[in-house]
């Protein structure tokens, strides 16, 4: 072996260790920053090592690519607002998966066009390459659709048509069939490009029927696929650092998707093929009796000002209204009056795992005030006022009380146990899932209509004068 090879392998080993230490640091906010610096250093070492690779004959395109990519990445990193984090993450899943797919295609091209000896393209190599390309391509288009839905370019409602699941299954089966054929006949160029095309199309069809409210699961799943595509790239190139980093990413996404599914009491199959939130699934739960009680701003302000404990429950509505800073302002005002203020956060609130935590952290809410579902639920009976900001399904008591509800069994924040609930809502319409929420009709619930940010700003003023 050349000395370069030793250097490269050593830099990869170092990178692998630093990546693992970096992720280990994420187990606590205090150690997370240092962990990330280790991971960044590891990445830099791996890149420097790679530049020594003996196969490289020209650096022009490498340098142009690195410069262009770094500029794009830095610009994105600095300017993307925190509320747009789900979109950014979806886009980066697409980029990562696309890179993996491209590497696979380029390798295949190099073999079939005589740049690399065709005999080396064996069954094992083709299997790894097939996984890489299938996962890479379907994740690319799938993530782009997810991006479109989060950005509002593609309608967030599930797009469904008759025979959709059967058609998707057939398409997937055909793609896998082509893949198996390729393992036995790696030189079959036409099946290869057909497989590639079908995988791209399948990604689109996979995500289109999934509603916006299920995005946390989809995001985690796409994260997992993108990671596994990278790991498969590692198999193709016999590169251990790629396998390790890809697997860590893949498993992180996998664990997150299981957590998200559990937080909604749904199975993965149900999320992927259930087209949740479409009109058909919610028929039969209409006709909620009773009336919603509207409350005035002054009433709410007085309630808040003289409470002992107030819990804020944010949802996606807080993100769309950009209301996180005003929420903190209201919280601070209340704390100054001696009110205990806490924030209850449901695992699937928002559009990606941890979405609400990041927004509130951005608004300077200390993380010790953010409570998880299990921590905050026992506190509701002794809470005077709960303020629900743009959340709906995660506080829907039907999930607990009505076994026929489509969300039955989903763990909820039991805000209805609090002495009083104030719901900030834009209008009388239903939430994303299209479900009625009995919480809104309870005697101790008051509705405060209007833009969340606007209402909260007025509340801050009203509390100060109360």
């Amino acid at each position: 072996m050349h000395w370069q090879t030793y250097f490269i392998e050593f830099s990869y080993l170092l990178a692998s260790i630093l990546f693992i230490l970096g992720l280990k640091g994420l187990s606590h906010p205090e150690t997370a920053k240092r962990g990330m610096h280790l991971a960044e250093f590891g990445m830099m070492m791996a890149i420097i090592g790679t530049l020594m690779h003996f196969e490289i004959v020209s650096y022009t395109w490498i340098i142009v690519g690195l410069l262009l990519g770094s500029t794009l990445g830095a610009a994105m990193g600095v300017w993307v607002p925190m509320t747009a984090m789900p979109q950014r993450t979806a886009l980066s899943h697409a980029f990562g998966a696309f890179a993996a797919a491209l590497v696979g295609i380029a390798e295949y091209y190099a073999y079939t066009h005589g740049f690399k000896p065709l005999v080396e393209l064996g069954h094992l190599k083709m299997s790894a390459m097939g996984f890489e390309i299938m996962l890479g391509s379907l994740t690319t288009t799938g993530s782009l659709i997810a991006f479109g839905k989060l950005q509002g370019i593609v309608p967030g409602k599930p797009l469904v048509y008759r025979g959709q699941n059967i058609f998707n299954m057939l398409l997937l089966a055909t793609t896998i069939g082509l893949f198996i054929y390729l393992i036995f006949v790696p030189t079959a160029v036409i099946p290869f490009y057909l497989m590639l095309t079908f995988a791209f199309v399948f990604g689109v069809l996979l995500v289109l029927p999934i509603g916006s409210a299920d995005m946390p699961v989809v995001m985690s799943l796409l994260n997992s696929y993108a990671g596994l595509a990278s790991a498969a790239t590692g198999f193709v190139l016999s590169n251990n650092v790629l396998i390790i980093a890809g697997t860590l990413d893949g498993f992180s996404g996998f664990i997150l998707s299981i957590l998200m599914c559990r937080a909604m009491n749904r199975s993965m199959t149900n999320v992927l093929f259930g087209a949740f939130g479409s009109a058909a699934t919610v028929a039969g739960v209409e006709g909620q009796q009773g009336e919603m009680r509207e409350v005035g701003l002054e009433d709410v302000a007085v309630q808040l000002a003289y409470a002992n404990q107030v819990v804020f429950v944010p949802g996606y509505g807080m993100a769309t209204a950009q209301a996180q800073h005003v929420v903190r302002e209201l919280g601070d005002t209340l704390e100054k009056r001696g009110v205990t203020v806490k924030y209850g956060i449901h695992p699937v609130a928002g559009r990606m795992p941890g979405h609400m935590n990041v927004l509130l952290a951005e608004a300077n809410v200390p993380y010790s005030s953010l409570y998880e579902l299990e921590q905050i639920n026992p506190e509701f009976p002794t809470t005077d006022v709960v303020v629900v900001i743009g959340a709906n399904d995660v506080v829907n008591p039907d999930a607990r009380d009505n076994p026929n509800s489509p969300i039955a069994g989903m763990p909820i924040l039991e805000v209805d146990h609090a002495k009083s609930v104030v719901v900030l809502k834009r209008g009388q319409g239903k939430g994303f899932s299209g479900l009625e929420n009995p919480l809104f009709f309870k005697a101790n619930t008051g509705m405060l209509y209007g833009d969340a940010k606007d209402s909260l700003t007025k509340l801050v003023g009203a509390v100060q004068h109360a």
Binding site: L66, L72, G77, F95, A99, E120, F235, N240, P366
Partner: protein
């Protein structure tokens, strides 16, 4: 990283060992990440899996024809964007998570 490596079953078995052990390790490490940090976790793993940049660099530079070079170039741009963007954003997010400041009263 010699290119004929995968034709030998021993190499793929070694690679499978790495994969399985990394999976176990990943499970252990990642299940300890609190929900509080799930968004930074996602962007951090995203940046880390941008390590596919390593593969893209070799392809963009190895002169296996215009098509392979162009594909490699695009792959370099995509993964470099992820690496830099991912780490910058993770840092930015983590800087926001603050402990409660000392009681004011």
């Amino acid at each position: 990283m010699n290119s004929e490596a995968l034709t030998s079953p021993q190499t793929i078995i070694a690679a499978l060992y790495v994969f399985v052990l990394a999976a176990f390790l990943g499970y252990q490490v990642i299940s300890r990440v609190p929900p509080l940090l799930h968004t930074p976790l996602m962007s951090a793993t995203n940046a880390i899996s941008g390590i596919s940049l390593v593969g893209s660099i070799v392809i963009a530079g190895s002169g296996h024809g215009t098509v392979a070079t162009v594909l490699g170039f695009i792959a370099v741009v995509c993964s470099a964007t992820n690496v830099v963007g991912g780490f910058v954003i993770t840092d930015r997010m983590l800087r926001m998570f603050k402990r409660k400041e000392a009681p004011k009263k």
